[in-house]
Each structure stands twice: as C-alpha cells, then as structure tokens.
C-alpha cells in the first residue's frame, strides 16, 4: 500500500515539475467548452439539455490528452525502466500509476467544472456531491484502461493517434453512464432512475481496474 502511494507520489511530482502538461490540458478543456458553446444554436437547444454531453465529452477528450502526455513525459525520463529493475510488485506499480493519472485528470476536471458552470450558465450546487461522485467513478474507468494503453502506445511512433483509437471504444460505457447520471442529477430526478447507470459505472470500474492490474505485468515485463 505504501508502495502504491510512493509510486503515485513520484509520478505526481514528475507531472508537477513539468507544469506544461497540466496547463495545456486545462487550456484545452477550456477551449473545447468555448467551441461547444459557439457550435450550438442557442434557440434550438437549451443549455441544460446539452450540458451533460458537453461536459463529459470535454472531460473525455481532456483525459485522453492528459494521459498521453503523462506517459510521454515518463518515456522522456526513462523513469519506468529504473523502477522495473527493482523488485517492485507490478500490481503496486500499476495502482500507483493509476492514482497519479487519476490525480492528474481529476485536477483538470476540477478546474474545468467551474468553467463549465460559468460558460453554460448551469447551476451545479444542488447536485454537486452527485456530480463529483459520478466524476470520480467515470474517471476511474477512463484512467484504468487509459494507463494500460498509454503504457503500450508510448512505445510506438504515433502514440498520439494510436491512444485515442484504442481507448475511445473503452471510454464509451463510462461516458454513457456519466452523461445519463449527470443529466438526471441536473434535472433533480429521483435516485431510482439513476441506479442502473451508477451500477454500470461501478461495475465497469471494478472489472477493469482488476483486469488492468492483472495484465499490467504483460505490458511492462519482457
């Protein structure tokens, strides 16, 4: 457990040192929000109808960008090779990376959220705990598979193109779930209507975090 946190800590520090990654992801997210605003016809669709989709597409794209960048930094530093030489549990290594990526993507999402409320004039206060919870659940889903795929993609020449192609299909179930729950939260629907989707999100996380932890050794070991 300590090892996981240590690995996570090291990765987070690495990411913080090169602040450009965090900054570019944030700017990207903000720009996507702006584009969405101008891309819609305000008379045709209300902001609230579109809000959940816009928010989650933005999160998904920003997550892709962030994860790709995180592994690129790592490749540049050859940090992973050093760690692998040590008799470190591969599972702990993966969970540490997962946490670090989670923190990274989470940070981007946390800053994007107020921007979102600002640009789209949507009030999140009443549903904030639900929104935050959903964000955590869905992001875990994104990042679990994303960590595995970015570890693989980073060894190819066109990682920036390969990662989305591989990862986007996997982001769809958490994305659907998140959008469905968010739209119901914003409309203040009763719990019963969201339960199925929340279960989907949770189940996805459990299955894929477990699976990715199990296959990580195959990605990093010879």
């Amino acid at each position: 457990m300590q090892l996981i946190l240590a690995v996570a800590g090291k990765d987070i520090r690495a990411e913080l040192r090169s602040r450009t990654a965090l900054l570019s992801a944030l700017v990207f997210a903000a720009l996507v929000l702006v584009v969405f605003n101008f891309a819609r016809d305000p008379t045709a669709l209300s902001a609230t109808a579109l809000a959940p989709s816009v928010l989650w597409v933005t999160f998904a794209l920003a997550a892709l960008l962030a994860m790709n960048r995180a592994f690129t930094i790592e490749r540049e530093n050859s940090a992973l090779d050093g760690l692998l030489l040590a008799p470190v549990s591969r599972e702990a290594l993966f969970l540490g990376k997962l946490l670090a990526n989670l923190a990274f993507v989470g940070a981007v999402e946390l800053v994007t959220l107020p921007l979102f409320t600002l640009f789209f004039n949507v009030s999140l206060w009443s549903s904030l705990p639900g929104i935050l919870g959903t964000t955590v659940l869905a992001t875990i889903g994104f990042v679990a598979v994303g960590t595995i795929f970015s570890a693989m993609a980073v060894r190819t020449r066109h990682a920036e193109l390969l990662l989305p192609v591989l990862l986007l299909p996997f982001m769809v179930p958490p994305l659907i779930g998140a959008v469905q729950v968010t739209s119901r939260l914003l409309a203040a629907r009763p719990w019963s209507e969201m339960l199925g989707w929340v279960r989907l999100l949770a189940l996805y996380d459990i299955v894929f975090v477990t699976l990715c932890t199990l296959v990580f050794p195959a990605v990093v070991d010879e």
Binding site: I148, T156, L166, P169, F170, V172, I176, Q180, G196, V215
Partner: protein, 235 residues
Amino acid sequence: MEPIDGKADRIIRRGLRLSAAAFVGLLLVYVLALGYTPVEARQGVAQKIFYLHVPAAWSALLAFSLVGVTGALYLWLQDPRLDRFAAASAEVGVAFSAVMLTTGPIWARPIWGTWWTWDARLTLTLFLFFLFVGYLALRAALHDPAERARFSAVVGILGLLLVPFIHLSVYLFRTLHPQPIVLKPSAPSLPPEMLRTLLVSTLVFTLLYAGFVTARYGLALADERRELEEGSDVG
C-alpha cells in the same frame, strides 16, 4: 528451409480450398434465401437480408472472441502460433464486420426508413469494428514480435470484456428510451424454412471464417519464414 515453407504453403492452400468450398455453400444459401424461404408479409423481400446479416454478425463475434481467447492463452502459454492465429482472426473479423455494417443499414432503410439505428446488434458490431481496427493498428505500429504479441493479447482480452458492457449500456439505454424494436425477426414464430436457411447460412459463414483464418494464418507463417530467411541471407 524448403519443408517449412512448404508447410506454410500447404496451410494457405488448405484455407483457400476450404473457403472456396464455403463459397459454394454461400451460393446454396443465396438460392435458399431467394427461392426456398417465404416472403415475409410485413417486411417484404428485403427481410431476406436477414440470412446474411445475422450469420455475418455471428462470424464477426466468433472472430473477436477467438482473438481475445487466443490472446489470453498466449499470455499463459507463450506459444507464437496463438498470436499468429489471433492476428489472422482479427483481419478476418474486419471483413465480416464490414458485411454486417453494410447489410445492416441496407436492411434498416427500407424497413424503418432510417439508415442507422442504435440497436444492440448494430452498435455492438460497430464497436467490434473499431476494436478490430485498433487492434490491427497497434500491431502495425509494433515491430518486436514478442512485444507485439503481448500487447495485442492485452488489447484482445480487454476488448473481449468490453463487449458485455457495450451490450449492457445499449440495453439500459433502450429500456429507458424505448425505441421501436428493430431488425428483429418474429423470433418465436419463425417458419421452419426461415430457420433452416438461417442455420445453413450460419454454418456456411462459420466455414468461411475457418477457411479465411486458415489461409491468413498460413500467409502470416510464410511471411515470418521469409523474413527469417532474408535475415539469414544478409548475415
């Protein structure tokens, strides 16, 4: 090297022969579908696309499952033949997914007036298609055979487990947003001619899959042998 190359060649030929035989079977299916089966009253003649669309979906799903399963077996047993098979199955799967994704809209349009519907089968096949493409793209980008095999296996396994989640998502989506039941034959009351033709078609498509995969496997083996020899010629 002659005997080994001969082996690859034999495998390829066997695969090509098997698929040729399956094509004859396909011709039979065409005849059955067009002549033997009744015309469905509500959907008209276009309903007969069903006899190609459903078995193609089955073949695509079979191809995909085998990619995942052989990938998992590879991680366990480290046998390169498993990886070679997975790659062959993926490519063949693309072909069947393509059939599925073209016949689907061609069927949907006259029946439902729309080219695309997000029903379970079409959505799933679309995802299979993307997963296949991603799988093959990854393979193309990796040059170390062992690394390629390992990474492909991981993608295959993860993809296999994605399928139930896509299915679940579509199911949840549709129960909450009821849409007309699309592309579903009146299953309980399927006349025997239809059922029989469907079964024959499924068998033919499975044979076609087997033939294609065998040939593709053989080609991959031949490629590897050739690269090996070219390496030893230069050195």
